[in-house]
Amino acid sequence: MTTAIAHPSRALAVALIVRRSLRRHAFATAVTILAAGLASGLVMAVFAIQSQSQRAFTGGNVGFDAVLGARGSKLQLVLNSVFHLDESPGNIPWSVYARLKADPRIRLAIPYAVGDNYRGYRIVGTTPDLFDRYRYGNDRSLAFAGKGRAFDPDLREAVIGSFVAERTGLRYGDHFHPSHGISFDDADDDEGHHAHNEEYVVVGVLEPTNSPIDRVVWIPIEGVFRMGGHVLRGEGQVFVPKHGETIPDEHKELSAIMLKFAAPTVGADLDNVINKEGKEFTLAWPIAAVMTGFFEKFGWITRVLLLVAYLVVAVSACAILAAVYNTINERRREFAILRAIGARKSIVFSAIVVESATIAAFGAVLGFVFYSAIVIVAASIIRTQTGVVIDAWAFHPALAYVPPGMIALGALAGVVPAVKAYATDVAANLNPHS
């Protein structure tokens, strides 16, 4: 019997041993892969969501340089006027807006007045300047879907963001009643006791901007002033607008003024005058810096989330260790046979470590599925809650180093059972002594 002897291939032997073991312990392997996948996906998702949400809230071009509002927290001002979250810190008189609008250092000043909602979506009173002169992102202006247009400042007309249209079903030509307050109660409806009597008609639906603007119902600022139940205290005196009568400017009040400067140095000048020397108002400038401060202040939340994610990774590594370790006892005879037919101890050791690493590798691959699912859900929640669209598929270095890290950790977890397999007494586990 003649033969051609091939090159020895212990790697092939290790691969075969690993394949057979994984198949034989298919259920335990599948569960362990699931755990490793979840851990890997969770870590990548926490990194990516944290990074992308921070980028979306601090790096995106919101179209304004600063926000002017009542004396108080800059963060609250930004959250309320830029992201349409949180309560307004208070009101400021119309005269401030008039002054800033006339100031040559200010390229654009847009007044916001808030206080009502429609089904939980904030109603913001403003001027048509928002649709004519406002630019966001890469010098883009707000665009209307279909035959939509900007509201007439003297009529009860509304322009709604794309997300509002998507979620409420409001379309061009539809009518609605605003509800009082900035939060919506499920018991409220158009006829509910919180609903205003004023009826508005939708004259425009904005194209998506992937920004908080998509979650807003825009109405003429005059409409907010004249909304039933609203009381104005512009310069201090209480004033209730009457139908058919002009509202004197001294009674008008605003929640915030959105500012775009003519030159970069203006921000510092105004910051000095308003924040440092003045006591009446607060200038949130630069907006991105305010949000960066927010993320820095609450960075511990991310660290806690990461800690939890790392703990899940550690638990999954323990699961790999336990799953493989539990097979060692039942496989002692297999190891003894392998050794008896010539497998060196290093082969047995390698097979166990490679088996653990393979489980972790499958888990790392599955991790991308979990990662995708988590970021899709998280992006959807963030969009629903804030209107901010995060780039869920943007690359984050964690996507490159977590999977190999998981594999390395899996291999490390395999060392303990591998040592046990390594130490298998061949003669004792092979045959009884005769």
């Binding site: 019997m1 033969t3 051609a4 002897i5 091939a6 090159h7 020895p8 291939s9 212990r10 092939l12 032997a13 075969l16 041993i17 057979r20 073991s21 198949r23 034989r24 005879r333 297999e334 046979i337 392998l338 050794r339 008896a340 037919i341 010539g342 497998a343 060196r344 101890k345 290093s346 082969i347 061949v426 003669a427 092979l430 045959n431 002594h433 005769s434």
Partner: protein, 228 residues
């Protein structure tokens, strides 16, 4: 130079009560290339330990074992493993096939661990032992006779110069025992491999020209009989 040469080989075990028991004490034993030798030994006579010492699975407490000119007692475990993989085939009473692996994989895995995989030769071996229709059967799907034939094929996978067989027919019926033994002897002869077989079955021992009593070469077995 003999293929296998043993001098003053001893192996002791510690008994549960702490005493030391000598299981193997072989002053001299040798086997020539392609020689076929059967050793008769009763249960507990130390013959499996003797074979495990020759295979390098166990390290002796004293003495010397030389196989193809290499003193395995002077070598580390890793080298003994290498020598076992490339020069020694081992057939066990309980077959010791790997349960999760097919017949073909059992043979080829031994090749991977030894001189390297040779698909043509592995199939030829299994065909030779009548298993060509059962290449992808797992041990549990084979009869005991078929399992032992796969074990014989595996023992020959790396063209060993020495084949050790520990009660290779002990779990087989007479017909299967005869077939397996004939195959084993034929394959050893064809491959110019020496065969050292231990058995307590007179029918097996009677087929060998060179059949020795293990008690005659193992002084430990003699002393045990004397004290019994």
């Amino acid at each position: 130079m003999p293929l296998l040469e043993i001098t003053d080989l001893t192996k002791h075990y510690r008994t549960p009560d702490g005493a030391t028991s000598t299981v193997v004490d072989v002053p001299a034993f040798s086997l020539e290339t392609a020689e076929q030798c059967a050793l008769r030994g009763e249960s507990g006579s130390g013959k499996t330990t003797f074979l495990n010492l020759i295979a390098g699975i166990l390290a002796p407490d004293g003495g010397r074992i030389t196989i193809v000119g290499e003193d395995i007692t002077a070598q580390g475990e890793s080298n003994r493993d290498r020598l076992r993989a490339t020069h020694i085939g081992y057939v066990f009473q309980t077959f010791n096939l790997l349960q999760g692996y097919t017949a073909l994989e059992n043979v080829e895995l031994a090749m991977m661990l030894g001189r390297g995989i040779d698909h043509a030769f592995s199939r030829k071996l299994l065909e030779h032992v009548g298993m060509s229709q059962r290449l992808h059967y797992r041990p549990a799907q084979l009869s005991v006779g078929q399992q032992q034939r796969v074990a014989v094929a595996r023992a020959m996978a790396n063209h060993p110069q020495l084949v050790l067989a520990d009660e290779p027919t002990g779990n087989l019926d007479a017909a299967n025992a005869q077939t397996s033994l004939a195959l084993l002897r034929e394959l050893c002869e064809t491959n110019n491999a020496a065969l050292l077989l231990v058995s307590h079955d007179p029918a097996v021992l009677a087929q060998f020209d060179d059949s020795r009593d293990f008690a005659e070469i193992n002084r430990a077995a003699v002393s045990k009989e004397a004290t019994a």
